[in-house]
Symmetry: C2
């Protein structure tokens, strides 16, 4: 059985990607990264999602990015925006080099496992402001990875799969529903409470809810308060 490393945040996108990789027959080694994120509760969601979707194994690796700060997700002094999704520029929820760090960790594990496939739930539609969610970045990472490792030198080619990079949130949800993902298990909110209930007003909540609306699927998210209107 072909092994794959799947980055799993505990959110909606990566749960869908894990379900897809499992459905394609990969033995999935799910990797979560505890980087000091505000929404640590997503890491508990990741444990449940990995189990529910049949991951072969799940690891959570800790790296303290609050040592650097520079993002609303890793710096307690920068607030999470709650007044509607930012239209221009790069959101303050962007975490410097986070995807590069997470992919590097996935690369390390893939090499140790002898896996030639990495799955990553990046999305360039809803998060078009994030530089490290763009297809050209993914291609550059893959190229670098294929020069970085002993496995690569020995002829084992690594493929970075980003199957939902060009899908809308509604399309991702439709795909996940087809694959049997239970989205109640996932947490997308940047400031979910200790019970995993979503705020309903941060960018991530707004995009998620609009996705369920557009897909015509009842939103199973547990909210701490009645969600605000608008997407």
């Amino acid at each position: 059985m072909r092994k794959a490393v799947v980055l799993l945040s505990g959110g909606l996108d990566s749960a869908t990607v894990l379900a897809l990789a499992v459905s394609e027959g990969y033995a999935c080694h799910a990797l979560s990264v505890d980087y000091g994120q505000r929404h640590r509760i997503e890491l508990e969601a990741a444990v449940r999602v990995a189990r529910a979707l049949g991951a072969a194994e799940h690891k959570t690796v800790r790296i303290d990015l609050t040592a650097f700060g520079g993002s609303a997700l890793t710096d307690a002094n920068i607030a999470v925006p709650t007044r509607g999704v930012q239209k221009d520029g790069i959101p303050v929820t962007y975490v410097p080099a986070r995807n590069t760090i997470m992919l590097s960790l996935a690369l390390a594990w893939a090499e140790v496992l002898g896996a030639q496939d990495l799955f990553f739930g990046a999305n360039a539609v809803d998060y078009s402001g994030y530089p490290d969610c763009r297809p050209e970045y993914m291609r550059a990472f893959e190229r670098m990875a294929n020069l970085a490792t002993k496995a690569a030198v020995e002829g084992s080619r690594l493929t970075l799969h980003t199957p939902i990079i060009a899908l809308s949130k509604a399309q991702i949800i439709e795909l996940g529903i087809k694959l049997g993902v239970d989205y109640r298990l996932t947490v997308s909110c940047y400031q979910a409470d200790a019970q995993g209930r979503a705020c309903g007003v941060c960018d991530s909540c707004r995009l998620r809810r609009a996705g369920f609306d557009a897909a015509g699927v009842a939103d199973p998210t547990r909210y701490s308060t009645a969600p605000a209107s608008g997407g």
Copy 2:
């Protein structure tokens, strides 16, 4: 003053690179990575080296690569070779994706600091067996980094400096001596004891000692036992 992030292991090579970056007028933000390495004592050496060479700041970030294993440096079940430097293939002291992970962390810090320069003491001569010490890997990392960040999208170009990549160990030592590096402060040994004394027989000790010999410089290294002969 132009800021730079300098990866600092506590060993001979990175100390020389830090001295060089300081001499070129950079405000140097030194970064050490505690990845669960056997030779943790090098991290204490890094603190002393950063101070002695006038780094503007020094941080040690922790990431537990023993979670993945796969190297003599991160897996207690794989022994460090002590019978002479391996001539062919990739040494068991290679740590999967380590340089990619360390450079990614340096990239994150550089972005938060607004630094456009990264210094890395990789060397392709003595460690020609390490895939992630090769110039083509460095170019691919730099290219990826310039697609990865908000800073890059906003037009700030990052340069990855690898000033000693093509130097012999003797040339590195000659450069460091000229720059005033006190090599007694550095630890290169893969299995140094708790006092920082070197074993004298691992690959890293052998290469270091041969470098001092070739440079015609008295070896200031503190050994736990009389070093074995041969390089």
